[in-house]
């Protein structure tokens, strides 16, 4: 007995010396995992979960891990016989393959794994993914099971629908028959409980034709919630993402979805399951277990795999603004704006436009300055011209007084005569009538003199109108006729037969002619006799009118021909030397030309040409 006690003590010691069972198991656990999908991995959702898992395992470089995977395809197939055949298949297939951890994707897969484990992988811990909270609660898996729990709530879909449709009253729930729904099965209770205060139209388990018919005739203020349809138009199987394309093409309302893979085919978005997050989470858990952690230390937990994600295209289509989306929403498929797309080109264009705008502004400014300067110059010219006219008027004042007093004298005398006649015994009324008509004529004469004087003294701003140069010329000659007779100068004027229409300031152009005539008269002042001035107007070609004023004076010395139009150049004793320079300034302001030459027969001739008005 004592020996037996010793033996048992030794055994206890040995046992105590042995590493703990778990640790030993860890050492023995093969680095391999078997992934069992509940569905068909050719659909994008499961594919993305697996891809993320694969990527995570691949990144786990320090312990290369073999990944086996099977799609159980439980959405399409089911029944005891099928499940049993699957079990036999797996048993046969993996007889010689040690499995370190079993990964079950989906509640249905987890249920089967739990059922098969005792016979197939009695030692292997189980890691699950994509198990909904309520399902997890129902299964209450044992302690060797861990995994990420997801929370997909119908209430979230409604919340998303409200964000998209502000006055939401109705939700059309488009889904596969509840029995065949593996992921959103839990919505059934929520919908039936009427947990939300919207009306729910169930379009569930109906043939595709009818679904399409109904989604195209939904009322206002409604939204579609799509959880997945597996049957195509002809009843053949189709991944739910593909089916969604058909529905979206017909739907007259936005479609709320609960899976990230439903966004691209036409869902407007919602609180969606993100498969990569699920795949990554399950891979991490499985790898940690393969690395030796015991599942009990890694209890199942709810993972953050549901995100508000929305489709930018659909938002544009349904006119949904970003502001109305739930906080933290991510927007997918955002099309870059034109500016984003052509950023550099846009920047270059903007820069070019800016440079151009600056240039244009600068040029406009320049133009403005130039116009101002031009106006200023024109005003100066007007002022100078006015002073020159005043000087001319001063020179002509005795002529003008004479011209004015002449008719006034006649009027006075005539009036007195008439008075005397009327005061007589037998007034000669015929003569009185004659006298009165003379008075009227002389009165008009006087007022004409005054009008001319006023026009000369008028301080008019530069104005342009169409005038007949012949008239201007004749008026200037009339104006100076008396002065000419007093100074013994003979005037001759030959005007062109046709009118010479030019655009210009009538007062200033007349002044040019007056200046030229006065200049010629002054030039001949010392001649004893034979003072003659000939004025001529003619058309040169089709484009310009030419005026010439020739005199019989001494002419201009050859070396002075170029100087005579300069300001303050004068050959007269009392001249200021501004008459001709003003004449030139005025002519240039009218885009014309002025020049002087000597005539072969003696005397000078001044020409000025002005463009004819079109």
């Amino acid at each position: 007995m004592g020996k037996a006690i010793r033996l048992s003590g030794l055994i206890i010691l040995l046992v105590a010396l042995l590493p703990p069972v778990g640790l030993r198991a860890q050492e023995m656990r093969p680095h391999s995992m078997l992934v069992l999908d509940q569905s068909d991995r050719r659909g994008p959702f499961y594919y993305q979960i697996f891809a993320a898992l694969r990527a995570e395992v691949g990144a786990h470089a320090h312990a290369p891990t073999t990944v086996y995977s099977e799609s159980l395809d439980l959405t399409r197939f089911g029944g005891e016989a099928y499940e049993d055949s699957l079990r036999q298949f797996l048993e046969t297939k993996y007889r010689d393959r040690p499995i370190g951890v079993v990964v079950a994707v989906g509640t249905a897969a987890l249920e089967l794994v739990l059922r098969w484990r005792p016979s197939l992988w009695p030692q292997a811990p189980v890691v699950f993914a994509l198990v909904e909270e309520t399902e997890f609660a129902r299964l209450r898996p044992p302690s060797f099971v861990t995994g990420g729990i997801v929370a997909t709530k119908f209430a979230d879909a409604v919340k998303a629908a409200r964000a998209v449709v502000p006055n939401l009253t109705t939700i059309a729930l488009v889904a596969e028959d509840w029995k065949r729904q593996l992921v959103f099965h839990n919505w059934k209770e929520e919908v039936e409980a009427g947990a939300t205060d919207v009306r729910v139209i169930e379009i569930i388990g109906l043939p595709m034709e009818e679904v399409l018919e109904r989604v195209s005739t939904l009322p206002e203020n409604s939204a579609i919630v799509y959880s997945g349809l597996y049957s195509g138009r002809t009843g053949s199987y189709q991944p739910p993402a593909e089916t969604l394309r058909l529905v979206a093409a017909k739907a007259n309302r936005p479609i709320i979805v609960a899976s990230e893979t439903f966004i691209e085919p036409g869902g407007i978005g919602g609180f969606v399951l993100v498969p990569t997050t699920i795949g990554t989470d399950v891979a991490r858990r499985a790898l940690r277990i393969l690395d030796g952690e015991i599942p009990e230390r890694l209890p199942p937990s709810v993972i953050d795999a549901v995100k508000p994600v929305f489709n930018w295209h659909q938002m544009q289509h349904w006119n949904v603004s970003e502001a109305s989306l739930p906080a933290g929403s991510r927007i997918e498929l955002r099309e870059p704006t034109v500016l984003e797309k052509y950023r550099w080109r846009a920047v270059m264009l903007a820069a070019a436009l800016l440079v151009q705008a600056v240039l244009i502004a600068f040029l406009l400014h320049e133009r403005h300055l130039r116009r101002k300067a031009e106006i200023e110059a024109r005003n100066r010219l007007s002022q100078l011209a006015h002073i020159n006219r005043q000087a001319t008027a001063g020179e002509l004042s005795s002529s003008i007084a004479h011209e004015l007093n002449q008719p006034l004298g006649s009027i006075l005398t005539n009036a007195e005569t008439a008075e005397l006649i009327l005061g007589g015994v037998k007034p000669d009324l015929a003569e009185v009538r004659e006298i009165i008509s003379d008075i009227k004529r002389d009165d008009l004469r006087a007022s004409e003199v005054i009008r001319r004087m006023r026009s000369l003294l008028k301080r008019a701003p530069f104005e342009t109108k169409e005038i007949d140069l012949n008239l201007t010329m004749r008026e200037a000659f009339d104006f100076l006729a008396l002065q000419a007779s007093a100074r013994n100068v003979a005037f001759y004027l030959q005007t062109s037969p046709q009118a010479l229409r030019v655009k210009g300031d009538p007062v200033q152009l007349q002044q040019v002619i007056l200046n030229l005539i006065v200049n010629s008269m002054d030039a001949m002042a010392k001649m004893p006799y034979g003072r003659t001035i000939i004025g001529r107007t003619e058309v040169d070609g089709d484009a310009s009118a030419v005026i010439s004023i020739s005199d019989s004076g001494p002419g201009i010395p050859q070396d002075k021909l170029n100087d005579i139009f300069d300001p303050f150049f004068t050959t007269k004793e009392q001249g200021m030397g501004i008459g001709l320079s003003i004449a030139r300034t005025i002519v240039l302001a009218h885009s014309g030309q002025i020049w002087a030459e000597n005539q072969s027969g003696g005397g000078a001739v001044f020409h000025l040409s002005l463009p004819l008005a079109a």
């Binding site: 002449q406 004298g409 005539n414 013994n488």
Partner: protein, 210 residues
């Protein structure tokens, strides 16, 4: 005191107005459009009259015409009329003997006054000229010897001196002296001296001698 008025003015209207007025006042009126026209038909210097002359007329000016008329020995008074009187022209015209210098427009009484003044002066001058002419005629009737005696008498020579100067006798001189007094139709030596004075013979002789 109507007379003959000659109007020279290039302004037909003014000419007509003046002509009308002056005819109404009783003058005879002749009008001329230019200086040359007047020179072509020179007015009668002897008839009582007056020239109304515009300063500014084409061709020959007013003052130029005035000079020309003076040269031609016209004594007709000239009244200038001008639309604009400048001092230089006025002074020149008055110096050259213009009767008056008036500015248009002019009240006709003022004008007529000036015209009358001119005509009156012309009249006086004319009558004076007529009397002198008569004395000259008388003087011309003296024989050369009598003229010599006349010249010496008015210089205050006594008969004896005259006889000595002319180389004749005192008796003969007395006879000549009597003839002279008779022919010159004077009663006294004083009258004879006065005539000599008016005709200007004394000064001329003085100069000859001096």
């Amino acid at each position: 005191m109507p007379g003959f008025v000659h109007i020279v003015d290039d302004d037909a209207s003014f000419r007509t107005a003046l002509e009308r007025r002056l005819r109404l006042a009783g003058y005879c009126v002749a009008t001329y459009a230019s200086a040359l026209e007047l020179l072509d038909r020179l007015p009668d210097n002897e008839a009582p009259g007056c020239i109304l002359l515009d300063v500014r007329i084409p061709g020959m000016s007013g003052p130029e015409l005035q000079r020309r008329l003076n040269e031609l020995g016209s004594t007709l008074p000239i009244v200038f009329l001008t639309g604009h009187a400048d001092t230089a022209t006025t002074v020149q015209a008055i110096k050259a003997g213009a009767e008056d210098f008036l500015t248009k427009p002019i009240a006709s009484e003022q004008l007529i006054e000036a015209i009358n003044r001119g005509i009156a002066r012309h009249d006086v001058a004319r009558s004076q000229r007529t009397r002198l002419d008569a004395l000259r005629t008388l003087l011309a009737k003296l024989t050369p010897r009598e003229r010599q005696v006349f010249d010496l008498i008015v210089r205050g020579r006594i008969n004896k001196q005259i006889a000595f100067e002319l180389g004749t006798t005192e008796r003969t001189v007395k006879a000549h002296r009597h003839q002279v007094m008779e022919k010159m139709q004077v009663q006294s030596l004083a009258e004879l001296v006065s005539i000599a004075e008016r005709l200007g013979t004394r000064e001329a002789d003085d100069k000859e001698q001096g």
